[in-house]
Amino acid sequence: MFTQTPNNDYQFRHRHILTVADLSADDVSFILGTAQSFKEISSRPIKKVPTLRGKTIINLFFEPSTRTRLSFELAGKRMSGDTFNISASSSSTVKGETLVDTVKNLNAMNPDVIIIRHSRSGTPLLASRHTKAAVINAGDGCHEHPSQALLDLMTVQEKKGTIAGLKVAIIGDIGHSRVAHSNILGFNKMGADVHVSGPATFMPWGVESLGATVCYTIEEAVKDADVIIALRIQKERQFDSLIPSWREYAHFFGINEKTLTLAKPDVIIMHPGPINRGIELDSDLADGHRSVILDQVTNGVAVRMALLYLVMGGEG
């Protein structure tokens, strides 16, 4: 299945994983191949390999997260790394210590990997300038969420056998979604045809330049789609004059059985979670046979194991 391996002189050269934008198609294929080979570890009775023994991995999360943080933590632990979680306030002024100082202090304790989630775009890049550790971006502002895009790509490749040539529809708040941003770049890079739809107030300026076709109706976006990715609608958006109400959003952009009749019969439905059932995605669909939402979660651990392994130089 994973036959798109890069040519022989390919080498993974990234010290940090900050963005999908930085990755080549060869890098993505290589990461997905590596993740696939690690996936089996999580289904063993003894879910542990010694690959990252003696390596220190810090989860530095400035935003609340359950799934992503646990996924990274499990990935580290299943490879015998020592993982630590730090939850910090996202505002440096409230905290009384700047981000740069926090990172410098962590660096002084010689960690091998720092995984950062932060509400401000570009923060992982800033952090990477102040530590010798490898930095992995676990989501920065409205910028990127590379590990999520990679696990989505892995899931599509598993289910469809390929990514190139597929029509992928991403529905929702594209502008505020780092998941959408990384996915547009990632799917585009791997040869898929990416369409986005949602209220026009949710479309960032010049989103076409990222490699997406904008559709003003959801019907246009999902027509003949192989993959539909629904995004979580943030509650507060209706107060930013971006949408009048959840109700209107659900009526015009919620994904339901009727929408799906336009897509390919074997369409798969994805969602980065957590789901607002009945808003962006019909509740039955989320649990139905076309939903691969829980496969995404499973693959998330494998992708993060691969990333930890690769930024550590691929040695074990």
Binding site: R120, G122, L126, G141, H143, G175, S209
Partner: protein
């Protein structure tokens, strides 16, 4: 460096946009005044006179930067009136206008007097700009009369756009009683709120909230409309967009009393400068795209823009070594304005005469301060000597400002102010280290 009463500057290329002169000559300074200028031959050397051969370097009326932030009172760790005026002198400026967003805000005679007190023995003249509204909150007018008497030269809520059109109307009206020029920071805040850079494909790619160009042009249009309706003058600060320039051009064509400035970064850089989340290129208005940059250049050439002002905005690493969205807006600019503007001269966008008009004559006319650009016997000896060919790399070690927040660090520059004379005294002359 010398401080003798008499200085004879020989062999200068005297650039005088007021009289349209650009020719070789000598200039004698005596007791703070220009004693004589001779374009034809050779001024006789009086006794006890320091002679300086300019070897064809440019000699101009002292440059005036009509838009700087000196941070005193209140944020002396970023800049003081003293350090800021040394930076001005090092950049070739004999006069600066300091914006009122200090702590406290300059909205009173007391703060104005404090600033002028501190400026008394400084190497550049300081012309304070008073606030339009009390505490620059945009609610009620500050006491224009009291501040004007104390010495402010104009009024602006720079940094805090006047959101209320009624208040802007009142400021323009009330200003008539005191011959008070209003300087507008034109920004429609509801459109720019939480923005960190110019809105466009790059802001989308970087995941940053954008500040659209229309946030500037909408407010520029409002300000022009009010000035036209009331037949009052208005000056528009730090213009950055093509759309605003089009509006200003059309307003000038129909006789509206509008003047406008831009800053060197808007004709030198584009939004690409922030692509690596470089907070030293973060400012408001933000760096725009290449079409805006070209429009700014064209407008400097054709007269739509009247002045180049640095918007010198010192910040320390406390405000800049942060997440991009958390970092403060603004860059220092006093020491790079001349070299960056000389780039436009070399690109044949500006003539040397036009450059001096933009940096000395026009600011002097708009603000009604200084010599009015006059270079003639009896005039105040505020003078700048520019070596247009001096090549140097802009480095931390040569920065005179207290702050270091410049996107031009490491740039190779060509041309520099090499001597600044204010009130007949040499306040700055280029150290040998740069000359070598």
């Amino acid at each position: 460096m010398g401080n003798s009463e008499r200085i004879l500057l020989r062999n200068g290329r005297i650039i005088d946009p007021l009289n349209g002169l650009d020719q070789k000559g000598d200039l004698l300074i005596d007791n703070g005044k220009i004693e004589a200028i001779n374009f034809q031959g050779y001024l006789e050397t009086p006794e006890n006179c320091q002679q300086i051969d300019l070897n064809g370097k440019w000699l101009t009326a002292g440059l005036i930067d009509m838009h700087v932030h000196l941070r005193e009172p209140g944020e002396e760790y970023k800049e003081t009136i003293e350090s800021g005026t040394w930076a001005a002198a090092a950049g070739g400026f004999t006069s600066v206008c300091c914006m009122p967003n200090t702590r406290p805000v300059n909205d009173s005679e007391a703060v104005t007097s404090l600033i002028l007190d501190k400026a008394r023995n400084c190497p550049a003249r300081v012309y304070p700009v008073g606030a339009i509204s009390k505490n620059s909150l945009g609610e009620s007018l500050a006491p224009f009369g009291e501040m004007k008497e104390a010495g402010v030269v104009a009024f602006s809520d720079d940094g805090h756009p006047v959101g209320s059109s009624l208040l802007m109307r009142r400021a323009l009206e009330y200003g008539a009683n005191y011959d008070a020029l209003i300087i507008s920071h034109a920004e429609e805040s509801s459109l720019s709120a939480n923005g960190a850079m110019n809105e466009g494909p790059l802001s989308t790619g970087m995941g940053l909230r954008g500040i659209p160009s229309v946030a500037e042009s909408i407010m520029v249009y409002r300000d022009i409309a009010l000035a036209e309706y009331l037949n009052r003058p208005i000056h528009l600060a730090h213009i950055s967009t093509r759309e605003a320039i089009d509006l200003i051009r059309r307003a000038k064509d129909r006789g509206v009393r509008v003047t406008a400035e831009t800053a060197p970064h808007y004709f030198s850089l584009t939004e690409e400068a922030v692509a690596e989340y470089d907070t030293n290129a973060k400012m408001n208005p933000p760096l725009r795209n290449i079409r805006d940059r070209e429009a700014v250049r064209a407008a400097l050439r054709d007269g739509t823009l009247d002045a180049i002002a640095s918007d010198h905005a010192p910040h320390s690493s406390l405000e800049k070594n942060l997440e991009f969205e958390e970092a403060a807006n603004g860059i220092i600019g006093l020491e790079t304005a001349v070299p960056l503007t000389l780039n436009l001269v070399r690109a044949d966008i500006l003539t040397p005469l036009r450059m001096v008009e933009l940096m000395s004559l026009n600011p002097s006319r708009i603000l009604k301060v200084g010599s009015g650009g006059r270079l003639e016997a009896g005039g105040v000896a505020d003078l700048t000597v520019i070596d247009p060919d001096l090549e140097f790399t802009y480095q931390q070690s040569m920065m005179v400002s207290k702050s270091r927040n410049s996107p031009f660090l490491g740039w190779k520059m060509k041309g520099k102010a090499v001597m600044t004379i204010m009130d007949g005294k040499i306040r700055f002359s280029e150290p040998e280290s740069t000359l070598n």
